[in-house]
C-alpha cells in the first residue's frame, strides 16, 4: 500500500468511526427515551423490556466512548504518517 493509499484509508476509517459514534449516541438517546416510556407500565414483562432498553442505552453510550477513543488513536496515526511523510520528504531533499 502506498503512503497516499494509507492516508486515504485512515481518513476513511476516521470518518466512518465518527459516523458510528454519532449513530451510537443518537440510538442511545432513543433507547433511553423508550426506557422512560416503558417504565410507566406496571407489567413485569414490560418492566423487563424497559430494563433491557436502559441497558442498551448504556451499551450504546459505551460504543460511543469506544469510537471516540478509536478516533483519537487514528488521529495519532494520521499525524504520525503526516510527519513521517514530511521528514521522509526532507530526507530525500
Amino acid at each position: 500500500m502506498s503512503r497516499q493509499d494509507l492516508k486515504n484509508t485512515l481518513a476513511y476509517i476516521h470518518s466512518e468511526i465518527n459516523r458510528i459514534e454519532t449513530m451510537a449516541g443518537t440510538l442511545s438517546m432513543t433507547e433511553r427515551e423508550h426506557y422512560r416510556k416503558l417504565s410507566n407500565f406496571d407489567d413485569r414483562a414490560i418492566m423487563d423490556i424497559a430494563a433491557e432498553e436502559q441497558n442498551a442505552a448504556r451499551q450504546l453510550g459505551t460504543m460511543k466512548e469506544m469510537c471516540l477513543a478509536m478516533a483519537q488513536k487514528i488521529e495519532e496515526i494520521e499525524t504520525a504518517v503526516e510527519q513521517e511523510t514530511f521528514s521522509g520528504g526532507s530526507d530525500r531533499a
Binding site: S28, M29, R32, D48, A51, E52, Q54, N55, A57, R58, Q59, G61, T62, E65, M66, A69
Partner: protein, 473 residues
C-alpha cells in the same frame, strides 16, 4: 373447629412460656438454659457453633461467602449532594458508566458498567450452570465475568462476551491455548478470604466434568499452591507479566489479597508493567475459606482501595494502571464509594450469587441453604434455571447502576468515574484522617484547625504533659 385448635395452641404456648420463664428466673445459672444467652454474647453465636463444628470435624471448617465481620466502615462515609454551590446534573443528561481497563494494552477491555462478576471458580466453588448463568447476566449488562481459579470452561467462555481469566496457582488456565482465548488475564496470587495459602479439593468431590476441565487424572486432588508455579522470585513475576502481555496483547493484571504490605507489592507490580491491579479486601468471600483466614487475615477493602489509589497517584500511574476493588461490596453505595475513593471498577461475588438465586431460593429453603442451588457440590444444582437466574442478576446490576447514576446526578457529575474524594465526607475522625476525607461534622474551612488541635491533644496525652486549655482553643 379452627378457633378451638387456635385456643388450644394458645393455651399450650402460654403454659410452656410461663414454665420456661419461671425456671429461667428461679434456677441457678449452672442449671439454666439462659446460660447460653450471655455465653453467646461473649463468644458470639457464630463462633459458638463454629467451636462445635471444629470439635466435631477436627479440621479447619470451610465457611462459605466470607467473613461475617464487616471491617470496612462504609457506613461512616456519605456522598455530598449539591444544590447551589454547584448544580445537580439535569435529568436529561446521560451519566457515563463505561470503563476501559488496560488503556496501555493493545486490546483494552471496555465494560459498559463499572461492576463485574467476581472470580468464583467452576468446580472449586460453583456449578457449571451457575457459571453459565453469571456469564449470561454479565453479557446482558455489557460487563465482564471472571473464571476464578479454574480451567477453561468453554461453555462459560462462549456465554461471556467479556471474559477475564485467572492465570492461577493450580496451573489450570496457564497454557497458551487457554489464556489466548481470554479478554484479560488476572494473575492470581491470593484472595481476601484465604490470603495466599494453599487449597485442596479432594478427589471425592471432583466429578467427571470438573476432572476434564482441570485436566486431572483419576483420583487426583485439585491443589491450589501457595505460590504460583514457576514464580519464586520477583524477577520471575516480572518476566511472566511481560511474556503474557507480549503473547496475548490483552490487559494483564495482578490479583492479591489486600495487605498491610500493599505498597511494596504494588511497587513490584508496577515494575512488571501490569495493566490493572485487583485488590481483594479482608471481607472477600469464598466457597470455603477457614474462619481464621477470613476473620483474622488481610486488610479491609476500604483502606486497601484508599492506600492503593494514593500510591498509584504518587507514582503517576493512576489511569494507566487500573485499580479494581473487590471484597465485601454488597450495596451500590459501597461499590460507588470504592469508585469515589479511587477504584476504576469493582467486582461483586456474594451479592451476584444472591441476586442470581433470589427468585429461585424458595426451591431450596427451609431444608437446604440457598447456595445449594449454585455450589458445585450442592444438592440442588440441577434445579437452577439458568435463564431465570441470569435475568435476576441482570435486573440487579441494572438497578445498582441506576442507583449509582442517581448519586452522580445529585453530586453534579456526568460520569461515575468523575466522583472523587471531594464528593464524600466522613463521620469518623480516624477514618477521615486515614482516608484523607473531610470530617462531616466540621465545616471545610475548620478541618485543619480541628485535626491540628486533635493532634496536639493526642501528643499532650501521650507525653502526659497536657497543654493549657487556652492553647487548644
Amino acid at each position: 373447629m379452627l378457633k378451638l385448635v387456635g385456643n388450644w395452641v394458645r393455651s399450650v404456648a402460654h403454659e410452656t412460656l410461663e414454665k420456661a420463664l419461671t425456671r429461667m428466673i428461679r434456677d441457678q445459672y449452672v442449671e439454666n438454659l439462659f446460660e447460653l444467652v450471655p455465653a453467646a454474647k461473649k463468644v458470639n453465636p457464630i463462633y459458638l457453633v463454629e467451636i462445635a463444628m471444629r470439635a466435631a470435624q477436627g479440621s479447619p471448617i470451610p465457611r462459605p461467602l466470607g467473613s461475617p465481620v464487616h471491617f470496612s466502615p462504609w457506613e461512616k462515609i456519605l456522598f455530598n449532594p449539591v444544590h447551589l454551590s454547584s448544580f445537580p446534573t439535569p435529568e436529561n443528561v446521560t451519566i457515563r458508566t463505561s470503563v476501559t481497563i488496560g488503556q496501555r494494552a493493545r486490546k483494552p477491555l471496555t465494560i459498559s458498567i463499572p461492576v463485574m462478576i467476581a472470580a468464583m471458580s467452576f468446580g472449586g466453588a460453583l456449578s457449571k450452570s451457575a457459571k453459565i448463568a453469571l456469564a449470561k447476566a454479565a453479557t446482558m449488562a455489557g460487563t465482564a465475568t471472571n473464571s476464578g481459579e479454574a480451567g477453561l470452561l468453554m461453555e462459560e467462555r462462549e456465554a461471556a462476551q467479556l471474559f477475564i481469566g485467572q492465570y492461577n496457582r493450580g496451573g489450570w488456565l496457564n497454557a497458551p491455548e487457554q489464556y489466548r482465548l481470554l479478554d484479560a488475564i488476572e494473575i492470581q496470587l491470593g484472595q481476601g478470604a484465604q490470603g495466599s495459602t494453599y487449597q485442596r479439593t479432594t478427589a471425592k468431590n471432583i466429578g467427571a466434568d470438573y476432572q476434564a476441565v482441570f485436566g486431572l487424572k483419576d483420583g487426583e486432588d485439585a491443589v491450589i499452591h501457595s505460590r504460583l508455579p514457576g514464580v519464586d522470585t520477583q524477577a520471575d513475576f516480572i518476566e511472566l507479566v511481560r511474556r503474557l502481555r507480549h503473547e496475548t496483547r490483552v490487559p494483564v493484571g495482578l490479583k492479591i489479597a489486600a495487605t498491610h504490605h500493599l505498597e511494596k507489592e504494588l511497587q513490584i507490580a508496577l515494575e512488571a508493567g501490569v495493566d490493572f491491579i485487583t485488590l481483594d479486601g479482608a471481607e472477600g468471600g469464598t466457597h470455603g475459606g477457614s474462619p481464621t483466614l477470613q476473620d483474622d487475615v488481610g486488610l479491609p477493602t476500604l483502606f486497601a482501595v484508599t492506600r492503593a489509589a494514593e500510591f498509584l497517584a504518587e507514582k503517576k500511574a493512576a489511569g494507566a494502571v487500573n485499580l479494581l476493588a473487590t471484597g465485601g461490596l454488597v450495596t451500590p453505595g459501597q461499590m460507588l464509594k470504592a469508585i469515589a475513593l479511587g477504584a476504576d471498577a469493582v467486582y461483586i461475588g456474594t451479592a451476584a450469587v444472591m441476586a442470581l438465586i433470589s427468585e429461585q431460593m424458595v426451591e431450596s429453603v427451609p431444608f437446604e441453604p440457598p447456595t445449594s442451588l449454585v455450589v458445585y457440590t450442592g444438592k440442588m444444582t440441577d434445579s437452577l434455571d439458568i435463564e431465570k437466574g441470569a435475568r435476576s442478576l441482570f435486573r440487579y446490576l441494572n438497578a445498582c447502576v441506576q442507583e449509582m447514576e442517581q448519586v452522580a446526578i445529585s453530586a453534579g457529575k456526568t460520569s461515575l468515574a468523575d466522583l472523587s474524594k471531594a464528593d464524600l465526607c466522613c463521620l469518623d475522625p480516624f477514618v477521615a484522617k486515614a482516608t484523607g476525607l473531610e470530617l462531616g461534622y466540621i465545616a471545610p474551612q475548620k478541618q485543619q484547625q480541628f485535626f491540628g488541635d486533635l493532634d496536639r491533644l493526642a501528643f499532650a496525652q501521650a507525653t502526659a504533659d497536657p497543654l493549657p486549655e487556652r492553647e487548644l482553643n
